[in-house]
Symmetry: C2
Subunit: 252 residues, 2 copies
DNA sequence: CCTGAAATCAACAAAAATCAACAAAAACAT
DNA sequence: ATGTTTTTGTTGATTTTTGTTGATTTCAGG
């Protein structure tokens, strides 16, 4: 059994399909290697192969449409996978909204007996289906942008439940100002989650370190020393002062 | 099976229809290639083709993972589609939990400016993504069985919002006792929705009229004259006394 | 019923993906 | 260290897919 098998299965099943070349690039190996390690997988019927690509044989229905829209799928899947090294069965976790969290929720279906509190209807729906989980949806009024709630009751519920980890994200990482998002309500929610958790996990893929068209301006709450930063490429020199006190996990 | 199949199915089902040329441009391949790879898809009946374009033959998008579990997919899709004849843009609607409602939510994505209140995280998540909708998730604690909430706050929210239609379902239709479900909390929720709506729509596929292994015993609240019954086969003689005062819609 | 525009089909050449075999590199044990 | 095993990348022959061309069919409007 090759060391890539788990990753490949994960990626194929999450994405629904991927070309051999894309996968080769994603894992930084040659296309021939992909073909080789994939062969036993398709012989065992775990995934299907067509000329040029691999397709999941799990029902084609599975991948959530949110994920399809999103950029940097592979990076986010990698980050979601590395999250599984941190979160164990039975952990309690608060999860914010956003596509990174959507992938995280997908991955966390592998875990059992989680206590989850989230303001994202998508995350809540995904994880509530797992037997043994205890899922709380925080908030009532959902915004259509991402199906998340930021009303007063959302905050009340977040503040009522103390958890082991808060899983947060950001829209942009700025060299000077740190982790930024677009809206004040997101900052407030992140603050509430952070204050009611033992540790915070900030998940940002490498694209968040690059300049963007629509620039966010609001600063996420300060992380504590020992909090985690999950990303998919090594931190560049000019950002390292932001992450020096953090446990940086680089997914690959 | 071509590597484009998943994408094509996704796009066609998502959009409802698309021309061959548009699809060719979308995937940056030639129109000829589209025609070639589409041929097996329409032969297998997965999508339909007309001169110049492809059209989805399913409800607007692939049913969710819940549906794999669920029996009678086709019946439920048919019922969901006929629901679209009742519900118009801008309507306000309360939706209960269950697989019938999951399909209904999928179908209702065609409508805009809906006000939706539901105790199902799946329904909330699905409909909150539609731009223009106003979606409220009722309840906090989700049960893993179906991602629905029946806690006190769920009832408070249902009772706070008055809607045009309550969309309810049942597990079994009994010749003598009428519409039955398994749990008291479901009856309570149905009652709350019914009391805070102008009209009630009861959606039950024909299998609910047949005897079942796991027999439910609790009676749903009484429907009002003029309420709707949506089903997929004509009502048998012995059930007609239950439906005589109702508007019966038989989907096909 | 006829006609012109658009869509489809059939066939062939070009491009891309696959496979098999070998050599280099990495991992392993002795 | 040394030799062995395993894995990986490369090369070139083979197969599959794709785009193009031109002939044929379908559709809408007179």
């Amino acid at each position: 059994m090759s060391k890539y098998e788990i990753q490949i299965r994960e990626i194929v099943n999450m994405q629904g399909s991927i070309t051999v070349l894309e996968l080769a690039r994603a894992l930084s190996v040659s296309d021939q290697t992909i073909r080789r390690v994939v062969r036993p997988l398709v012989e065992r019927g775990e995934i299907a192969k067509v000329h040029g690509a691999l397709v999941s044989n799990r029902s084609p229905i599975d991948p959530p449409f949110m994920s399809r829209m999103s950029q940097n799928k592979l990076a986010k899947i990698a980050i979601a996978r590395s999250l599984l090294d941190l979160i164990k069965d039975g952990d309690r976790i608060a999860i914010d909204t956003g596509s990174t969290s959507a992938f995280a929720a997908q991955a966390l279906r592998e875990r059992r007996y989680l206590t989850v509190v989230t303001n994202s209807a998508f995350v809540a729906s995904t994880l509530s289906m797992v037997p043994g989980n205890n899922v709380s949806m925080a908030g009532t009024q959902l915004r259509h942008h991402d199906g998340a709630s930021f009303d007063r009751s959302a905050f009340e519920i977040i503040e009522r439940i103390h958890v082991d980890y808060a899983l947060l994200s950001a829209s942009l990482v700025d060299e000077r100002k740190g982790f930024l998002v677009h809206e004040q309500c997101e900052v407030d929610m992140a603050t509430a989650m952070l204050e009611n958790s033992s540790k915070t996990i900030m998940a940002v893929d490498h694209s968040k370190f690059l300049p963007q068209n629509r620039k966010p301006s609001l600063k996420q709450p300060e992380l504590k020393p020992g909090d985690y930063l999950l990303t998919d490429k090594p931190i560049l020199r000019q950002f390292q002062h932001l992450t020096s006190s953090l446990d940086v996990v680089v997914a690959e």
